[in-house]
Symmetry: C2
Subunit: 317 residues, 2 copies
């Protein structure tokens, strides 16, 4: 699974960080997903190798503008790029209503279907072979959600020794067995299942929206190798701001991540006040004081890869 951060600033864009947007690619093909689409997300996509033609779904965590105001422009640009493939919009109902109002009032005509998946009706919002996306409820000023993305990849290895033992020569029959087909040989049926080792690798990442209470993700984080979550403030700043905005501190998040033993943690959605060397160092120090896994502070256009062994590597822009 590969994550490209398209925005890491909370509330408003700053000179070096855009508002929220996160591109998710799996090893399953060219298709990718977008989690949140703040204003300027399409501009960030232009700085990556991603194509709007391959965007399978947009998952919006909540209706606040810094998480969805880029949606109409991005979908319009995909349309002007002659996209015809349908697209899923997985989002709370007000986001869908806003998108519908935008189409109606701004003369927006898309040459492809947009299908709404209503978060409130179903927890399993995307389900196809190898990929499941579930939504989990968070705590914020408006209904807000996290997405738990589970990617299964199968590695099928032939038992070459066993095949040589029955005398089957390497060739098309070997490939057929590897692809799960049974094969006739010397009047006998060779069953695929007897001649292959199948290893299923499961990568699970939990990608949060705005949230005042990381512990809401206790269940979602079971079996997860990676948690991506807002840490808008340091604990000091959060104490000064007060609970009104309903955001998390690095400390709250780190304590939770430690309690569920998720091995990798990426912090994002930083308040402008922390967006300098000192601020970022304070966020990291606070995180490391309460969490013993691998912690990262996301920057715009950072690319994180979660491999099948559960290890995260980062390529900075």
């Amino acid at each position: 699974m590969k994550l490209t951060f398209l925005g890491t600033s909370s509330g408003t864009p700053t000179r070096h960080r855009n508002v929220s947007g996160l591109a998710v690619q799996t090893v399953l093909g060219a298709d990718w997903f977008l989690v949140d689409c703040g204003e300027g997300t399409q501009h960030r996509v232009l700085q990556t190798p991603l194509s709007l033609n391959d965007l399978a779904a947009v998952c919006i965590t909540h209706v606040h503008g810094d998480h969805c105001y880029g949606l109409p422009g991005l979908l319009a640009s995909a349309g002007m790029g002659k996209r015809t493939k349908p697209l899923k919009l997985i989002a709370p109902l007000p986001v869908w209503e806003w998108f519908e109002a935008t189409r109606r009032l701004t003369d927006l005509h898309l040459p492809y279907e947009v299908e709404h998946v209503d978060l409130e009706n179903e927890a399993l919002v995307y389900d196809m072979p190898g990929l499941r996306i579930e939504r989990h409820v968070l705590r914020h000023r408006v209904p807000s959600h996290a997405y738990r993305v589970q990617v299964e990849t199968r590695r099928v290895r032939l038992k070459a020794e066993a095949l040589r033992a029955v005398g089957l020569p390497p060739g098309p029959a070997w490939r057929a067995l590897q692809n799960g087909e049974d094969v006739s040989f010397n009047g006998e049926t060779l069953h695929s299942a007897d001649f292959v080792d199948t290893q299923v690798d499961t990568a699970v990442a939990v990608l949060g929206g705005d949230n005042a209470e990381p512990a809401m993700l206790h269940e979602a984080c079971q079996g997860a190798q990676l948690l991506v979550h807002e840490a808008t403030f340091t604990q000091d700043a959060l104490d000064k701001v007060g609970p009104g905005p309903m955001h998390s501190s690095a400390r709250l998040l780190a304590e939770f991540a430690q309690s569920v033993e998720v091995p990798n943690l990426i912090l994002t959605h930083f308040s402008a006040r922390h967006q300098n060397g000192e601020g970022m160092a304070a966020l990291m120090a606070e995180t490391q004081a309460h969490y013993r896994g691998h912690a990262f502070l996301a920057n715009d256009l950072d690319v994180y890869e979660l491999d099948s062994a559960g290890k995260v590597t980062v390529t900075r822009a």
Copy 2:
């Protein structure tokens, strides 16, 4: 008058050009105006010295997304920046309806008033001492408008010789006379009007929205020193695309500008297909073949100054 181009691409943003947005400053104070507000306009503002606190009005030419999708985010950011000063939104009704729907559906609460000025009701959309903005109707797929911005500056010079002749010594009384106040001296009243020369400089720029027919601006361009107008295509490209999108070519625009003898012409809103060296050269060659004034092709973050003598100078980003 100072114009900062915040976006010069038509339809979709590209890597080097954003969609439409144009900042207009006058010499009258810190206040500035925005003509159009495509997605990412607030990001471009961050690259200029302009402050959202000083934004007096947003003038939208028409409801298409590349001219207004940046509005909610920009106004939200101004709110998060603690703006309290009211702001005028000069726009067609559907833009206002869309903004209202956005407020209602996306939990957007601004700490300042936004007052709608409906374009269709009145031609004089902004009127204060020294500054008048009028809207003029264009021809496009939806109702589209140009803004004619007229800035009057007064230079008041004292007739120093005449003052010395009556024996008034330089000092506070001189300043009072220059400020239009009458002054008592040696038992007589010295009338300000007798001792000053007032020169009124008028700068007029016409700033167009999307438009298939530049000649719609015949009246607006009377007395104008500068026309800013879309030239989405070369004539060749327009002929291939056909009249459906209802845009102008450089040739159509240049012929019109020549016919009304506007001395300065800035082309903008370029199709992505022309956004390379060859394309820009073709647009300029076509313009110069039909127009004998000063022609410019706008780039993002270019700053154009129109001085009181009607001369335009450009500072490239």
